[in-house]
Symmetry: C3
């Protein structure tokens, strides 16, 4: 329990940090001011988790009450502004950090929902929400159709990650820790492979189509 | 009580299903992928109800915890993709299903708020929210000004429907069931008549205008 | 306590009213219909507060349950439509009312969060949210990048106002009333000065930049 708790906290903070960097980079590229960059970074980092916490009744949301998250977002903003060449040198940093944050948040989101005693469906849906909620908020605020609805397997990877957490919790084949790590690795690999090989879910044109 | 409960559940599920079809059709026309279509369908179907449940303290929101809703959304997605010619043959299906879902949700939204012991104002406002919330979320996600703020009497029809539910609850002239059915029919007729005869609320140009 | 309560209620209603006017004016300029104008006015006026109330667990949100707010929003809508020449004569009314509402809401938002027993971070973040939440919702609904992320010191002024409330609460140098008034005046002056002299937060171009 102690170890799970530590792992959970660590994954959550790491996810916050990488999501904040991806948010800050997107906001900086868009030419927002210092506060705007910081706000988008915080929103991408904590937005999904805040929606999850409102839905599971964890009031006030951890993203608002725990200063670790705010500090992680501020440091990420400072790093993105001050060390931008470094952030840039990691080829396509936004996409890479985004994939890592996606996996981390899908797993921790599903876990927290289960820990609050909610059922498997809530855990899966809120795992996905935690993972993609911040990015959707970012795209809404930057006034574009959320990328997750159009691009390579993204939310679907979060779905897989959250499903593995919930299945592992029901079947109890492995300890929670190992189950989380496996869910994390599968979700992250799936996302990177989808990016590498341009895997996409089917799109339906407006002509007549058969049942898929 | 038993009968009301059954009616309430039935209306709620039917509303979910028709809203999901309207959402899936809009997302398909926009060229989103399979997950995107399913996500928009679920969002239109359950988004308004989830906002309502957060506001009345029904945690976790029924849209997340009750698998009926998710299944209804998935079936609606499958039908829209697989039987699109059928969905299309119903002339202007999106608009028709939208009007039906609007009426169903305004009524059930107001009822649920009253059932949780909140006052008449909360019931009316959340009736409207349940009815138009999903559509507003859809339009925000598809990056356009929500249609309900511009087009023929729409949210106003939901307002009338929710008002009738609240008035019926206070005056007790009829049983709850009959009151709901009347509210439903009036709201639905109002919306269809507005569509047929292009009834619009007044728009105020930027010149000097007198008090309306 | 009694006096603080009265001051708190008065500031909250005044803020609601001026925000509703700014919302109604923006919606009218955009050519929305009567319901659309009223909905945007209500959303700008109560949106930030509703998000705050969901986050601090004040269910149902005051914006929905207290008819004062709804009436204030409706009167503001009527005034904006009926007495538009008057509203217009106040040079740049939207911007002026917006600055007043911003200051009022940052202060009352931070105060309410503290009154519900939450910590300083929650109070500051939700003070900002109360202040800018409505305007962000307005810009999302009218389909543009929220102005607060780009323009002259705006959310930063709310941050200062909320910080002063929280600091005053911890240090107890002054009575709560005086502390609120000082926070209000500083936030409002800061915003007006920023508008007058075009103070902006730094924007980072996409070239290499040093740590700020």
């Amino acid at each position: 329990m102690e170890r799970l708790h530590f792992l959970y906290n660590f994954l959550d903070l790491a996810g916050t940090f990488v999501f904040a960097i991806s948010g800050a980079a997107a906001a900086k590229q868009r030419g927002l001011d210092l506060f705007g960059i910081c706000a988008i970074a915080f929103m991408v980092a904590c937005g999904g988790g805040i929606i999850r916490d409102l839905c599971i009744g964890a009031i006030p949301p951890a993203g608002l009450t725990n200063w670790h998250y705010l500090v992680a977002a501020i440091i990420a903003t400072g790093m993105t502004i001050g060390l931008y060449p470094l952030v840039q040198r990691l080829n396509q940093p936004v996409i890479f950090f985004d994939a890592l944050g996606l996996s981390l948040f899908a797993v921790t989101g599903a876990q927290k929902s289960l820990a609050y005693g909610h059922n498997a469906e809530v855990a899966v849906l809120l795992g996905i929400t935690t993972a993609v909620g911040g990015g959707v908020l970012r795209d809404i605020l930057l006034n574009r159709v959320p990328a997750i609805l159009e691009k390579e397997i993204y939310a679907s990877a979060a779905l897989i990650g959250a499903l593995i957490v919930v299945l592992g919790d029901h079947l109890k084949w492995l300890s929670s820790d190992w189950n989380s790590i496996i869910a994390l690795i599968i979700c992250f690999s799936l996302r990177l492979l989808a990016l590498r090989y341009h895997w996409n879910l089917p799109v339906y044109s407006n002509e007549k189509t058969e049942q898929n």
